[in-house]
């Protein structure tokens, strides 16, 4: 939409709401966003800003394909899908880590192929490829923790925030792959034609992020 608005894709859920609060503080408010409705697109004509609520894992696609100029998504999505976008800012919220977890008391049998259950096939493959470890990557779409309990896999690679879900299922982190947090991303072409607006928004968000440190 080339109408002079900055189109921003926000991830549905708690992270999106947190980030919207930051954008509001940065002066890019759009009160309709917080209304309890089924609408998914909201705009503030005065501020020339338009927000979309989209599935968190889809934010990068919206931005890469230019449907949104800017978006907010987790570093996990950027590492997994490697979208061709600018990663302008670490928003230092939605902090968690990508980790390998296994049942408590797990002993790594290096003489056999490691079975890894995960939603993040590329991150897991890349991690074990660097280690030179032969793996059988099993792609799952949810309830990853159940895989080692049912002997579907030896370990899992997943996002760990507090570790409570792991504990409740007698699992524990055995290795951290990388730290994760929410990132502000921008379509490369949109950046060229909205440089000042994007830089202003990024700078204000950066100041807010630094102030919250």
């Amino acid at each position: 939409m080339n109408d002079g608005f900055l189109n921003i894709a926000l991830p549905k859920g708690r992270l999106g709401e947190k980030v919207y609060a930051m954008l509001e503080e940065a002066g890019f408010e759009c009160p309709a966003v917080l209304e309890n409705s089924r609408k998914l697109i909201f705009e503030n004509a005065e501020k020339r800003v338009r927000y979309f609520w989209v599935k968190p894992s889809d934010v990068a696609i919206y931005v890469e394909r230019g449907a949104a100029d800017l978006g907010v998504c987790g570093k996990d999505i950027l590492l997994e899908y490697k979208p061709d976008v600018y990663e302008l800012l670490d928003l230092k919220t939605g902090i968690c880590r990508m980790a390998v977890a296994a049942p408590n008391g797990y002993v790594d049998r290096t003489d056999k192929v490691l079975r890894v259950a995960t939603k993040f096939v590329h991150i897991a493959s890349e991690f074990y490829r660097k280690k030179g470890r032969q793996t059988d990557i099993i792609k799952l779409n949810g309830s990853i923790e159940i895989a080692p309990i049912l002997n579907l896999s030896d370990v899992i690679v997943d996002i760990v925030e507090t570790g409570t879900t792991l504990k409740e299922n007698d699992l524990g982190v055995i290795e951290t792959i990388t730290d994760i947090s929410a990132r502000l991303i921008c379509n490369k072409s949109s950046y060229k034609f909205n440089t000042n607006a994007v830089n202003t928004l990024t700078k204000r968000l950066s100041e807010i992020t630094e102030a919250k440190k």
Binding site: N2, E64, V85, Y86, D90, N187, K192, F193
Partner: protein
């Protein structure tokens, strides 16, 4: 009728290249697979369609044009060529093969400042053939390389740092530099560099003020000399424009069109590719990705016809035929329909 379409842009580009003294290079659709196997990382898509020729040779449907042009060049000769060819690559999103029309221009010979200016000017004019709202981003791999040398970043860390620079990811770039022992002054320099003012004159002024190394100063002087000879209205300095340094060196550039989500033009100096292929000449060129313009055409809505010929069940078909002939002979676009709802036209010829 709205004349903005892929074929129209392709014709304009070829006329532009021809008018600038470049000659068309026609080639076969096939090439020996070995050429691509040896230079796989030069290719934007790594998958190649192969087949065995009747004489047993493993052949490939061309995934790229530049490699064939370089292969057939001879040292000591000057080549000013352009092409408009189909290439076969995998689509990043669907992971299936697609036939893509690629138009581009290559200069092989002695690449001096004037030659670089010429090719960059043609690149700017190429973007003008597509839209009035365009940007040509320009970068210099020598400047970037000298800067990273001064930070003593090498090997795997350098590769990762380059990917951060490419994504304007300052936060992770600084973190990586600190982890690799770069002092705060070095980190601040890198941050400044990544957020450089894109205006060519200002960018050069700032780069000249950096006290990095003699190599850096020399590269900046060369870069500045090229920029000074160009129309700067659509030119922006952006060091996030990167190409594989195994093939490219010096100036690299990328063109964007408002409304198209990714770069539609990409090019640069590729002396390193020439050396890898045993050639001593220098080379510079660029390609225009016409397939990426589909988004732009989609936004140009439905076609508007000069004449809408409306006929009914009882209309004499010879009248329809005559109306089409009349419109075409008047150099007008037309469409013959039984129902004009939704058809955009400037003149209605109702034959009912």
């Amino acid at each position: 009728m709205n004349k903005i379409n892929k074929e129209n842009v392709s014709d304009k580009l070829m006329a532009l290249f021809f008018g600038c003294g470049y000659r068309q290079y026609k080639m076969s659709k096939f090439e020996e697979y070995g050429l691509y196997a040896e230079n796989r990382s030069f290719l934007p898509s790594k998958s190649i369609i192969t087949f065995t020729d009747t004489d047993g040779r493993l052949m490939a449907l061309k995934p790229d044009v530049t490699l064939s042009i370089v292969k057939n060049s001879r040292d000591g000769e000057e080549y000013k060529l352009f092409y408009n060819e189909s290439v076969y690559r995998t689509d990043r999103n669907t992971n299936t093969f697609a036939e893509i029309t690629q138009t581009g221009l290559e200069y092989i010979g002695d690449v001096d400042t004037a030659r670089l200016s010429e090719v960059l000017t043609i690149a700017e004019l190429s973007l003008d053939c597509i839209s009035a709202d365009t940007v040509l981003d320009i970068s210099h791999l020598g400047i970037l390389s000298s800067l990273l040398d001064s930070l003593y970043i090498s090997g795997k860390a350098r590769k990762t740092l380059l990917s951060y620079i490419e994504n304007k990811n300052t936060h992770d770039a600084v973190k990586l530099c600190r982890e690799n022992g770069v002092d705060e002054k070095g980190c601040a320099l890198l941050c400044d560099f990544m957020a450089l003012d894109p205006t060519p004159d200002k960018a050069c002024e700032i780069l000249k003020s950096y006290n990095v190394s003699d190599d850096f100063a020399k590269e900046v002087a060369d870069f500045s000399a090229v920029l000074s000879s160009l129309d700067k209205s659509k030119l922006r300095v952006d060091f996030s424009v990167l190409n594989d340094t195994n093939y490219y060196n010096g100036i690299v550039f990328r063109g964007y069109v408002k409304g198209v989500p990714s770069a539609v033009l990409s090019g640069g100096c590729y002396d390193m590719l020439m050396r890898r292929m045993g050639k001593n000449s220098s080379a510079v060129g660029f390609a225009v990705y016409l397939d990426r313009l589909e988004d732009l055409y989609a936004k140009n809505q439905r076609p508007v016809y000069d004449v809408c010929i409306l006929y009914g069940d009882k209309t004499d078909s010879s009248k329809v035929s005559a109306a089409i002939r009349a419109a075409v002979s008047d150099n007008k676009t037309c469409t013959a329909v039984k129902n004009a709802d939704g058809v955009l036209y400037t003149q209605l010829n109702d034959l009912r």
